[in-house]
């Protein structure tokens, strides 16, 4: 089967005021339809850069990125992004934030009543029906991130790109949202690529974990298959041998083989 997303020899060099910064090199990755992939690595390893390349928010210096047989040239709603800091527009209500996304994807084809139904359904999916008309500053951080996910899901994207979506949340809220994301992904059969720095999150959610070496000029170090069958239940996994082994594998990679060395600026 032809991979759904292909990253071929991607290289990324940023030109900053301090000079050139070589962020990524020789990145090769194939993602199948319906797969859940996490990108993990120390901070500064270019995992967000890789996600932004797939999103089309950045253009690679060299190499090619292909999604569903087409080269990725610009951002688009078929590759929906859930941003780290939710990025909801503060002057729009939750419903209007989602509606803005729905309108841009389905606006030309469907009546406005149908669009509203879609937006409401997406918010229902993430359990936010009670806050349709609240503004983002009136709801908690976890709720904002739910609305951010709803906005992405409402576009019915081919792939869901998540940039440390739960990074700013407390541990309990994060666990709850992870569990719900598992259910949503199981129901919608979405393809997901998620950036994280949380080992447990990666093992719990992913089919494959892409471990990245340290920058500069970071690349993919190893890819770990997580063979744990779905549906996965957090409580049962804690003592599951496959879970423990996968977790150990990632920790070994991150802290033994590729320990992060803080560089003096």
């Amino acid at each position: 089967m032809k991979p759904f997303i292909q990253v071929q020899d991607a290289e990324m060099v940023f030109t900053t005021r301090k000079g050139r910064f070589h962020a990524l090199q020789n990145v090769n990755l194939n993602v199948q339809r319906g797969e859940f992939i996490t990108l993990i690595g120390h901070s500064g390893c270019g995992k967000s850069t890789l996600l932004n390349l797939i999103a089309g928010l950045l253009q690679p210096t060299s190499g090619a990125l292909i999604c569903d047989g087409r080269e990725i040239a610009a951002p688009g709603p078929e590759r929906a992004v859930v941003f780290q800091n939710h990025s909801l527009l503060p002057w729009l209500s939750c419903l209007d934030n989602v509606l803005l996304a729905v309108e841009s994807v389905f606006g030309g084809k469907e009546a406005s009543a149908k669009l509203k139904v879609r937006a409401r359904a997406a918010l229902e999916l993430v359990g936010m029906s009670h806050a349709l008309h609240k503004r983002p500053h009136e709801i908690s951080g976890g709720m904002k991130q739910r609305v951010g996910i709803a906005r992405a899901l409402a576009m019915e994207p081919k792939v869901l790109l998540m940039d440390e979506p739960f990074g700013a949340l407390d541990a309990l809220t994060r666990a709850k949202l992870q569990d719900e994301l598992l259910k949503i992904v199981a129901r919608t059969q979405s393809t997901v690529i998620m950036v994280t720095h949380d080992v447990d999150e990666a093992v719990l959610l992913s089919d494959r974990i892409v471990m990245m070496t340290n920058g500069p000029a970071a690349t993919i170090g190893e890819i770990l298959e997580v063979g744990i069958p779905r549906p996965r239940v957090r409580v049962e996994l804690a003592e599951d041998a496959r879970y423990v082994a996968a977790r150990k594998e990632v920790i070994d990679f991150l802290y033994t083989r590729h320990a992060h060395v803080e560089q003096a600026a």
Partner: protein, 304 residues
């Protein structure tokens, strides 16, 4: 008693506060002419007398001190009027604010309205030019580099220095005054709008790119709301400056206006009227500021 008030409009002004108080306070025993609305409304919270006193007392004390010192200083007489004399003059002045005795002798109301009209005109034109210009400067780096040195050079110039240019160009006092207001109020709006556009969070623009929003939707749904608080700050600064400058400009150009009025009263050596004018200018400035602050608060979003 209440019904009597309604039947004699001559006394209405004096008794009106009493009658409105009866209507608006459901807790008071209703008079026979009014239905008792008290039952429908829940009891009010007890008034926080101490907090109220702590907020009201300090300004009352400071104003009382000012008037007291003024009274002490003018006790012995001289060219400076006493507080009482100034108050009497103010009562006389405001008894008929809208009279007209020829072009150089008009009521204080006309003077204030004329000044406000000039400020509104000059400021409105400045907003029409300045806000779009600020958007262009904020959005396009080339325009920014082109206009920035000019702004840096012209912004610190006292607006009154532009008055002769206005007189030369328009050959008339009134457009020259409006021109001066235009020049002084345009800079804060240009600069603040440009800064606002430059500070639109990249995240919002990334959202727009991912959603593939049309240029029109980017402007109406993202740029305008994000920049609005900055624009309003610029507007507030502009109006404040414009109100400062109009008094000085009118002193030079003459005509009907609060600034010319002050100068006229100085020529008449009517110091009491000058003091009243200072108070009036301050009050109008305060009201303008307060109005725009309220407007700005309404359009500010607490994003995080």
């Amino acid at each position: 008693m209440v019904s009597a008030v309604f039947h004699s409009p001559g006394e209405a002004a004096a008794a009106a506060p009493a009658s409105t108080a009866t209507v608006s306070r459901p807790a008071m025993p209703a008079t026979e002419t009014l239905p008792p609305p008290a039952a429908a409304k829940p009891a009010r919270d007890p008034i926080d007398w101490k907090g109220l006193a702590l907020r009201v007392l300090p300004p009352v004390i400071s104003i009382a001190l000012l008037i007291g010192l003024w009274g002490l200083a003018t006790q012995k007489g001289g060219s400076f009027p006493t507080p009482a004399a100034t108050f009497d003059a103010a009562v006389k002045l405001f008894a008929d604010p809208f009279y007209r005795n020829g072009p150089n002798d008009q009521g204080i109301g006309w003077n204030i309205l004329n000044s406000l009209g000039r400020v509104g005109m000059g400021f409105g034109l400045a907003a029409l030019v300045g806000i779009p210009l600020g958007f262009i400067i904020g959005r396009f780096e080339f325009a920014n580099r082109m206009v920035s040195p000019l702004i840096a050079l012209l912004k610190p110039v006292s607006p009154l220095a532009w008055l002769p240019i206005g007189l030369l160009a328009f050959k008339s006092a009134n457009p020259a005054a409006i021109w001066t207001i235009f020049i002084c109020s345009i800079w804060p709006m240009v600069v603040n709008t440009a800064v606002g556009v430059q500070r639109v969070p990249q995240d919002y623009l990334n959202v727009a790119r991912v959603l593939k929003l049309s240029e029109w939707k980017v402007i109406t749904r993202i740029l305008l709301p994000a920049v609005l608080p900055y624009v309003l700050t610029g507007v507030r600064l502009s109006v404040g400056t414009a109100w400062l400058v109009i008094v000085a400009a009118e002193m030079l150009t003459g005509g009907v206006g609060i600034g010319f009025w002050v100068w006229d009263e100085w020529n008449n050596l009517n110091v009491a009227h000058i003091l009243i004018a200072i108070f009036v200018i301050g009050t109008v400035g305060l009201l303008l500021e307060w109005f725009l602050m309220t407007l700005a608060k309404h359009f500010t979003f607490d994003g995080d």
